[in-house]
Amino acid sequence: MDNIIEVKNLVKKYGDFTAVDGIDFSVERGTVFSFLGPNGAGKTTTIKMLTTLLDPTFGEILINGFNPVKDEDKARKSFGIVFQDQSLDEDLTAYENLDMHGMLYGIKKSERIKRIKNLLNFVELWERKDELVKNFSGGMKRRLEIARGFMHHPKILFLDEPTTGLDPQTRNHIWNYLKKMNKEEGTTIFLTTHYLEEAEKVSNKIAIIDHGKIIAQGKPEELEKQTNTNSLEEAFLALTGEKIREEKADNLAGMRRHHGHR
């Protein structure tokens, strides 16, 4: 099996503060990889470096064989992303959001029409395609974002806490889409989440990051064995401790989401 993501000795420093401190990991093509850790552990910073939004201070990254710093546009074509905080244009309709995404990714018009119809049906938003996104509920927006992430048939889909704040029905729904896409299209899924039972169910491999360092990685059952526990949640707590973490300023955008929009 080949690795679609390779990370070697990745470091990100902000002045004196080291957000990501020399991490190594790899993700096999077509698998579901979970990247777990307490708030402020360095998850989002790592995702930003993998997705060309942030330059690493040090280290190597390969995304589908491309270096996100030097070959940014090729790397960008290889992945889709559902951000932790919402990134739709609320003043456009659901259809327009997907259409503009398709245009930015250079998809032909005839193909866009076909894919948008498929995807909106898939996430059950086709009936509301001409409504402005600002009138959508949180769950609908998430579904739309996931649909958008799949628009250009990415080889990798990054999901940064995709189900936070959603009810169990919607979460269940979203996971059904994701599993289907993972099976049918062979899309590699890179996931961060705080719902550990979710991660335990879907992941082929898990890495746990804390204070910028990867402290354990392997299959869910390997982590449980290693810590002598019976569930991923217990293993996670055994590895990262029970102390509550302070959120960094870095997560402001995520907080704003909970405070509503303009």
Binding site: K48, L53, D91, L104
Partner: protein, 248 residues
């Protein structure tokens, strides 16, 4: 190229969708037109400078273009706060194209806004003398719009939130407008003021638009065009560079 078109389309669509914004941003230019236009008209006439409305309208058109263009650029800060900026930054498109698309979109919106002010000014008594210069006038308007949309985008690429907004308004946008010859003629200004006005690129936009719409021209159409054109190229390049450096 389709990326440039996509971002242009987004700006234009959003503009036509928000009627309140369209009408709201006509308020200030019209207030200036009425208050200054009618208020100072007789003083201007007595000073031997001719009809003030004829003089003022190109300045007010420039003002509404300046404001609309700069703010459409600064809109990027909202996109940063509300997430959409990231969607464009991870798209497989060179960042300068993202910047250029938005600049063109913001500039188009600003020119439409300027045209609306232009049309409304006929109600205030403005008269057009030479129709053949209407196209050159539109070109000048578009250059001013491009220039300040690029300024707005460049600033926005450096700011993280709206905190600095009031400062930009008071220390940049207002001075650019007031010190541009939009409201007063350039002859016999105190030396310091004259130097400042000549360093302000909007001065050449106002001068060019005024020249085309039948008013007095100070620098000449070609020099105005050349200075504006160079400023536009410079600022779009700067903005494109700044966009390529955005880290989130």
């Amino acid at each position: 190229m389709i990326a440039i078109y996509t971002l242009w389309l987004r700006e234009v669509k959003k503009y036509f969708r928000s009627k309140s914004r369209m009408i709201g941003s006509l308020g200030q230019p019209l207030l200036f037109l009425v208050a200054f236009g009618f208020g100072l008209s007789s003083v201007f006439q007595k000073a031997g400078e001719g009809n003030y409305i004829q003089f003022l309208v190109p300045g007010i058109i420039s003002m509404s273009i300046l404001f609309t263009a700069i703010f459409s650029g600064i809109d990027v800060i909202w996109d940063r706060q509300f997430g959409f900026l990231k969607e464009t930054l991870v798209a497989p498109v060179p960042r300068w194209q993202i910047m250029l698309g938005r600049t063109l979109g913001g500039a188009t919106v600003a020119v439409i806004q300027g045209m609306l002010v232009f049309l409304l000014s006929f109600f205030a008594g403005f008269r057009l003398t030479n129709f053949s210069l209407l196209l050159p006038a539109a070109i000048f308007m578009f250059l001013v719009a491009l220039l300040f949309a690029a300024v707005g985008l460049s600033i926005a690429s450096l700011l993280k939130d709206m905190q600095g907004f009031q400062m930009i308004m008071n220390f940049m946008v207002m001075p650019i407008f007031f010190l541009s010859g939009a409201l007063f003629p350039m002859n016999d200004l105190p030396k310091i003021l004259e130097v400042i006005v000549k360093f302000n690129p909007l001065t050449y936009g106002v001068d060019g638009i005024r020249g085309c719409l039948g008013g007095t021209i100070t620098f000449g159409l070609m020099p105005d065009f050349a200075i504006l054109f160079i400023s536009v190229v410079f600022l779009i390049s700067l903005g494109g560079y700044l966009f390529s450096k955005i880290q989130i």
